[in-house]
Subunit: 353 residues, 4 copies
């Protein structure tokens, strides 16, 4: 039985992991750490958990981090994990981090990301020596490396959807990697638990608005992955939009298609690329189920279409931003790291309707 | 392994059972029957199910009903189960019915219900001889009878919330059973999958409206149960309201409290009444979590308050209308009928946020 | 042309008045005061106003309050207006206040309200000498007094809906004023513009929860009005609930009906009571349109039903909480105070769908 | 006083016109025609209208169409107006039609549109001789022609947003007209009043899904307009998405920008292009207010951004689909046709929040 510690247990991402681990037969939570709301059973803070998990939330002091754990999950904002992961790894535990801290193999690449992130403001990485040991946690692309890794950077929620949506086309060379446009849509929970004007119910409800146009940090990690797959520089224009939903990410991706490629060939290519993947579903031609078909699950749905006249491929990928986009994908990575069946604790059906 | 047949598999209630049974280790689905959309894998009809259940939906002819099944689940409108249950029982299978067909021990009581139901229009029961063998399926109240029964009438969604909310107070005699008012609120999915003007998105969204004021059929079965528990006639004024949510029922119940009873005593009484119940949670004084804390689970949350000046008890009970209010409660009944652990296939945490 | 000053111009209530006054032919805004976000055109702060109102928001210093104004609208939290209204009145201007500061004729009655209000914590009134000069601003009930008044306390949003819903029945003696239960439902905007966990989109969406059960301060002012109309003590159990909508209040009111009164008689009585009222609509028997039919208007819809078996009257009243429940009702009061046609600037149709 | 007849008065588009004309000082409704729900006051059918408009809805027989009217508004599905407009025009009345029937100057261009429209199925135009007399009703682009016209084809809702968003850039030659991608998002009301599975509340709520990818008929009329403005063939890949909101359209438009054009220059160009337009607002750099800032108004908000690295212009345009996207724009056209001030009856502020 693996002993897991969750740092940042009371944010949406940490709570997601708390919930998933209640049903994981090989991992038990050894401690829940947080900055605020400490000293109480987590079921007192979140009534939905009452009766399921009554562990006390403890203060996230540096000393406590890593204590008695085989695995530390940093469900924390950017720049927390980078200051503590070294110590945890040195003590022999594995680390997964939800933030951008370990998504890049070099301080230079991290720097591009940090420039765009609203809260990191271009600060340099605090533990650049750890970066070569880190792995980017998209299991469908980097499974082999994750299996060998003790330090995984869980990807950004939009990055999961974009990367899975575009990887086959880019890797197999059927689109121009310099022509990519991604129009992203996300539910409100992606911004976390902290109240703000943008996510105040009367402001968010019955609205839809773009934000950080062509300047969202998740485009950096996605471009890096796609460039690696393409063997040349991929460039993407990414515009995220806020929806009036709680959950879900849907990315509509546009790219110039190599002449002569048919929709049937694209479908075959995608099915082949994801053959055997437990969480990726290629929907049949003409089926675009949208967010509803993946909510509350770890699935990523991919639908495909062509604008033949304009010579463009259109890929629609959708996930639950808090599961395949965060805690679910993190648990999938953990399963890979520890050699558990990849669906363990994650084999949930979407919630319908 | 129990072989189950679902009649009406493509409505929300039938789908709920299809989904739950994918994760039940002792029951497997032997056939899915429906009136429309037959001849296709259910995953083609409902993209969220693709990859989980690909059984073909077959036509619900009378001949097929009960075939090769140990258990038939009628997830059908009123007056379907009553015409077919006799045959199924005679063939040795157990029956659970979602409609009002088997919620009453006599044709007379059924008649009161049928008068109020919009689609039965006061028609007499078609199989009155079966009624004495039927059991009303609120396991927390009638567990012993359900265990012995082969024919269970799954309660109305509002009835589950009202009955669980009021049973302890009525049974222990701390409220006047003639003074009950229940103000109910329900999500849109309670009305089923069939499109209608009332549930058309632009009409339902950003609205809240009462309907069938003091004339909803679920009040009949609830009054019958409460009268039985009270040992005298319980009378309730019930006004349901439609919310702009997909799921959830919240009932706010008001009743005159016996003089001298304190809130602490009420809490003790409720905790005692539901001690050991796996799906009922009595929230602590001052905690009113609302729908959010039970969605996607089989839980019923109960919160308690007093209006001391007016001498009234206020009970708030909330459920997921499609789980504890329908498919989840039905599976709980099935588990009781077949001697499985009551939480088997149902031990899900609520979805948050 | 009346010169109006809005204090607290950047809250939802103040903005509502800013918007309404853009289309009022007899009143012009002379200044907009606020505590924060000062020094900028209001259209920079609220993009929807760009091009309609570009007045600068100025700091709400005590010196500025009342300056160059014939009318001061305190769209401010409790206890702001009471400290400044005296000075404004002394300078000859009229005052309307959105908070509870001037809703009661005596410091004693105010005290009961203040005990329940979460932010006043039972503090005594700071200007008790002004209270006898103040008028409670429900124009349909107190029009004559408002016409003579220079100091009006605009009622609480729930109080408007409850009072209009119950006044005819209570005044004409067809219900027992000691038997009233009101189950209230409100959109999220009633809590104002300040972000909070309760109104954070992921928490509020797809939810419904009660709050301040039998202890909401609006019940105090409503009970006072109803007692005055009844000529005896009215008592009400009031439980408000939060909806996942932006706007709207719907109150479902229950009371014991005098024996022998028919639904037709109740309808006649209500129609008669509100004959000639421009903003109250008595919907015909069997029509319960809910929030949708009043949103974006200053209307109050009232629907009536009986639970004949239980001897209860059920009244459903609905308003837009930010118009008839706040800024719209305030402007209606202002029109009465200044002798303008009561619908001036308010003659808007509901927004459908 | 102009006498107007509304054909199709009980759909969302017809109702929108009914509502707007209640506040138009120069036009009065002479008759309301519809196919169903006839014989009753419109306020009986739509409770929000009670007290505002109580005209009887009459059967839309061909004989009644045009009767006693100076202006006939066809708020009807495709292919209704084309069969009746000739007769109305011959009788001397003016015509505006909401459908695609009169959006094209030739039967050939109509044919391209009809091929994509789900309900016209490529049928030829029934009155091709009228097409040369018709005008496409985007007043900001074709005001001069509309002023001279007696037959106006009101544009598609998405077409309004796309055309206004892209016209300045295309007309002034700063983008490549062959490179345009438009990712559209729409509220549910755009699909009309008729219930359907796609717009059933439980299906639509908490979802987002694309539909008719690269095959929506509004792209045909937009491409035609943009080609005309560009003086060369414009081509656009258009993917509409359904939101879980009632109202609103937001189009995010991407196009390759001519080298060396700065964001400041783009802003200047757009401000200049729309100088004096009463309903188009160019939001300042960095302000992307989204749907909320235009709902319930006839405004079109336009925000601008660059992806400098990729050499792309990003234009975000948003409207209320039922006002500037339908009835509001139609009334604006009518005002132009009849020489009334263009904002008459339309000078409404957005509803916030």
């Amino acid at each position: 039985m693996i002993k897991a510690q969750i740092v940042g247990a009371t944010g949406y991402g940490g709570l997601g992991m708390v919930e998933l681990l209640q049903r994981h037969p090989e991992i038990r939570i050894v401690s829940l750490l947080a900055k605020t709301d400490t000293g109480k059973p987590i079921g007192d803070l979140f009534p939905h958990l009452r009766g399921f998990c009554d562990q006390i939330v403890e203060e996230a002091t540096p000393e406590r981090v890593g204590e008695a754990a085989d695995l530390v999950i940093f469900a924390t904002p950017d720049r927390v994990g980078m200051s503590l992961a070294g110590k945890v790894l040195a003590a022999g535990a594995a680390v997964i981090d939800y933030s951008g801290d370990f998504r890049f193999p070099s301080a230079e690449q991290y720097g591009q990301y940090a420039l765009l992130h609203p809260s990191t403001a271009g600060q340099p990485h605090a533990a650049p020596d750890l970066l070569p040991r880190s792995t980017y946690g998209v299991p469908e692309i980097f499974r082999r490396q994750i299996r060998e890794s003790r330090l995984v950077g869980n990807p950004g929620c939009f990055a999961v959807a974009m990367t899975l949506g575009l990887a086959p086309a880019v890797k197999r060379g059927i689109v121009d990697p310099g022509s990519i446009i991604v129009d992203g849509k996300t539910g409100s929970s992606g911004a976390g638990k902290k109240p703000s004007t943008v996510h105040h119910f009367p402001e968010r409800n019955e609205s839809c608005a773009p934000y950080r146009l062509a300047s969202h940090q998740h485009s950096v990690e996605t471009a890096a992955t796609l460039s690696q797959l393409a063997g040349e520089t991929a460039r993407l224009t990414f515009v995220p939009h806020l929806l009036s939903t709680t959950r879900g990410i849907l990315c509509t991706c546009y790219a110039s298609l190599r002449a002569g490629v048919s929709l049937g060939e694209v479908h075959d290519l995608y099915r082949d690329f994801y053959a055997g993947e437990p969480f990726v579903r290629i929907q049949p031609p003409g089926v675009y189920p949208g967010l509803k078909a993946v909510l509350a699950s770890n699935l990523c749905d991919i639908s495909l279409a062509l604008d033949a006249a304009a010579g463009r491929l259109i890929v629609v990928s959708s996930i639950d931003n808090l599961l395949k986009g965060q805690a679910g994908n993190a648990l999938q990575n953990i399963n890979v790291m520890f050699g558990f069946p990849e669906t363990m604790g994650l084999d949930r059906l979407p919630l319908y309707p």
